[in-house]
């Protein structure tokens, strides 16, 4: 029991399991997406800034070069008037974006134009991109030089602006991911809940089953997912089987009650008669009859207990190798002595035929078959007992010349408390003999069947597996 409990403790429901898996997958996906987006955004932002720096510097250089095209073509130094005082301002129409700082310098005449915030310390940077710390501020600078016109244009931007740019991009691209995560998580929970609805319905249908009166589940297999269909069909079949077993069990109990009540009633009536009787002989007679009833009941109870012990759920009986021929001969000899008006004919019992069996139970089996055959035999009738071997099976055959069993009753003869109407001679059993025969055969791994020989009468066949040494 203990491992079951600890196992239960760590078992998580299917819902929780699926949801956990889905959430884990979603989480992983989200983390990958997030980191990917973040790095892309950073790259894009820096590329974007570099592009802007480059464009600005090129634009600026182009602007000043075109001012004196004639001179440029003559490969002379451009005669651009120094205009140190030119201060450019860019209207801040770009919203959050901070404008660039730039300057254009003529190597001959000095600064042609500059934005006021351009860091002077950056003036010695070489062409291309460069990162510089100027007065505790990180700058990114792009320098472009035109050697022929001896012009240098520089564009610079504070690195913090680049970060802001990245942050802005991040906000635009990655923020949907933040609220998508809970939405997807909720959708995952919902879809698991919806997807497992048939399972919950099945669970409910099983939960409402009355264990004492199981009935087929009230679920149409066509209405459930295909994965659950075999489960429902199997469960239905199981319920049907349990129902049959319960019905048989109840019929058995009712029949046992019925069979026990009559002798019990007789015993009670006789004892009451004895108690009230003044006549000694009558009293003695009544007590004798009560005793007879008690004997009858104890025999019945004995057989009921035997049947209970032979139940497939009970522990198997002790087995040993037995010679069936020897066993049959012993029992027939006993029966012959007490039934002189029946002729017994034996066949095949001289050959040793070993089965793995319980001597007491097999004794009961053969004796019950013989008792049954004798009960339905007319005086001077014949009973055939034969032993044969078929593959790895031993067959015991008991054939009587009685009235036979109608076809429709043939599969009922092994039922407990089945009484045959043809038994009109007053010799009546209690209906357990053949049930015990079948139970014993089953307990030995064999089976019992009844057939109707062509020449009339009834033939019982018992199949028992041979002991391994004989096979």
């Amino acid at each position: 029991m203990k491992p079951l409990i600890s196992w239960k403790r760590i078992t998580i429901g299917l819902h929780a399991r699926l949801i956990l898996w889905l959430l884990a997958l979603l989480g992983t996906l989200w983390v990958v997406l997030w980191s990917n987006t973040t790095s892309t955004v950073k790259d894009t932002a820096s590329q974007d800034i570099d592009q802007r720096l480059k464009t600005t510097a090129t634009l600026l250089l182009g602007l000043y070069t075109r001012q004196a095209p004639d001179k440029a073509s003559r490969d002379q130094a451009p005669a651009i008037e120094p205009s140190r005082g030119v201060v450019l301002t860019i209207p801040s129409t770009l919203g959050r974006e901070t404008p660039l700082s730039f300057e254009i310098i003529s190597l001959d005449t000095g600064i042609l134009a500059t934005t006021p915030d351009f860091p002077g310390a950056a003036r010695d940077s070489s062409p291309g991109f460069e990162d510089r710390t100027i007065e505790d501020q990180q700058w990114r600078i792009f320098t472009l030089a035109d050697r022929r016109q001896r012009l240098v244009s520089r564009a610079a931007i504070l690195q913090s602006n680049g970060t802001t740019r990245a942050d802005n991009l991040q906000r635009d691209f990655a923020s949907p991911l933040i609220w998508l995560l809970p939405v997807f998580a909720m959708l995952a929970v919902f879809s698991v809940w919806r997807g497992l609805a048939p399972l919950r319905r099945l669970e409910k249908a099983i939960a409402v089953q009355d264990p004492l009166a199981p009935s087929p589940l009230d679920i149409d297999p066509a209405q459930v997912p295909s994965e659950l269909r075999p489960l429902i069909i199997t469960l239905d079949r199981l319920m049907q089987k349990v129902k049959e077993v319960l019905t048989r069990q109840r019929a058995f109990t009712a029949a046992a009650g019925h069979e026990l009540r009559t002798p019990l009633a007789g015993c009670r009536a006789q004892l009451q008669v004895a108690r009230r009787s003044q006549d000694v002989d009558k009293r003695q007679g009544a007590i004798d009859k009560a005793q007879h009833s008690v004997d009858h009941m104890s025999a019945l109870v004995e057989q009921l207990l035997l049947l209970a012990r032979l139940d497939p759920a009970a522990p198997p009986p002790d087995m040993e190798p037995l010679d069936l021929g020897h066993l049959v001969r012993q029992i027939v000899d006993n029966v012959v002595a007490s039934n002189p008006d029946i002729r017994f004919r034996m066949q095949g019992i001289d050959r040793p035929l070993f089965v793995q069996g319980n001597p007491t139970l097999l004794d009961t089996l053969i004796a019950n078959l013989l008792t049954n055959a004798i009960r339905f035999s007319l005086p001077q009738g014949r009973v055939d007992v034969s032993l044969a071997r078929q593959c790895d099976q031993a067959i015991i055959r008991v054939i009587d010349q009685g009235p036979g069993i109608p076809l429709k009753e043939r599969d009922k003869v092994f039922d407990p408390f089945y009484h045959c109407e043809r038994d009109a001679s007053g010799k009546s059993g209690n209906g357990l003999g053949l049930a015990i025969v079948q139970a014993v055969a089953n307990a030995h791994g064999g089976w019992a069947e009844v057939v109707a020989p062509d020449e009339g009468g009834t033939e019982f066949r018992i199949y028992l597996p041979l002991a391994i040494s004989t096979v």
Partner: protein, 218 residues
């Protein structure tokens, strides 16, 4: 009273018959369903105890057949089967009472007395005519408040006469009530019993109606 017991089990049937006889009743016993079905054609009984599982014909079939033939004798059904289905079926087919085995003899007898009481329209176990009173349950007879000591046979005859005061009860009816199908009585034994009864309760109380039988008058 005269009781028919239909029960196929030897020991129970014997016990019931013997027990009811000890209570002073005349009991006849049948074990076969087919015979029982015909039993009411030739004989009359006061009450019947009928087992349901019988060889030949089932108790329910027999009951249905009796009721179809307008036999109104009270029937107490005796069965070993559990459950109310059989009980309802039997009562609907015309049974008057239902007892599940095993049954107590005293209870069975009391139930039969009750059935008889109901069938004959009496309120209790007492029958009376003038100053003469008979108690069926206690087997006591009083004549003008004096207890009269009667033998079992005398009691049966007086009981039969008191069931229909003033009306004639035939010799055959009295004899079947006394002996059932059992030991055949000598031809004059009823005569002797009537004579003894008259000496106990007064000669004028029992009148002989020649060729028909006897009747009791106040």
């Amino acid at each position: 009273m005269r009781i028919l017991v239909v029960e196929d089990d030897d020991i129970l049937g014997d016990g019931l018959c013997e027990g009811l006889r000890q209570d002073g009743h005349t009991v006849d016993w049948l074990t076969d369903g087919r015979v029982a079905e015909q039993a009411l054609e030739a004989d009359t009984f006061d009450t019947i105890v009928l087992d349901l599982s019988l060889p030949g014909r089932s108790g329910l079939d027999i009951l249905a057949s009796w009721r179809r033939s307008q036999h109104l004798t009270p029937v107490l059904v005796l069965t070993a089967r559990e459950g109310t289905r059989d009980c309802i079926a039997a009562l609907d087919l015309g049974a008057d009472d239902y007892v599940v085995k095993p049954v107590d003899l005293a209870e069975l007898e009391a139930r039969l007395r009750a059935l008889l009481r109901r069938a004959t329209g009496h309120a209790d176990n007492r029958l009376s005519c003038g100053t003469l009173t008979l108690d069926r349950a206690d087997h006591m007879v009083w004549c003008a408040d004096e207890v009269v000591d009667l033998s079992a046979y005398e009691f049966v005859v007086l009981e039969a006469l008191l069931e229909r005061p003033g009306r004639v009860v035939s010799r055959e009816q009295l004899e079947s009530r006394l002996y059932g199908w059992g030991d055949g009585p000598e031809s004059n034994s009823l005569h002797v019993l009537i004579h003894k009864l008259r000496s106990h309760i007064g000669a004028s109380r029992i009148e002989t109606v020649r060729g028909l039988g006897y009747r009791i008058v106040s």
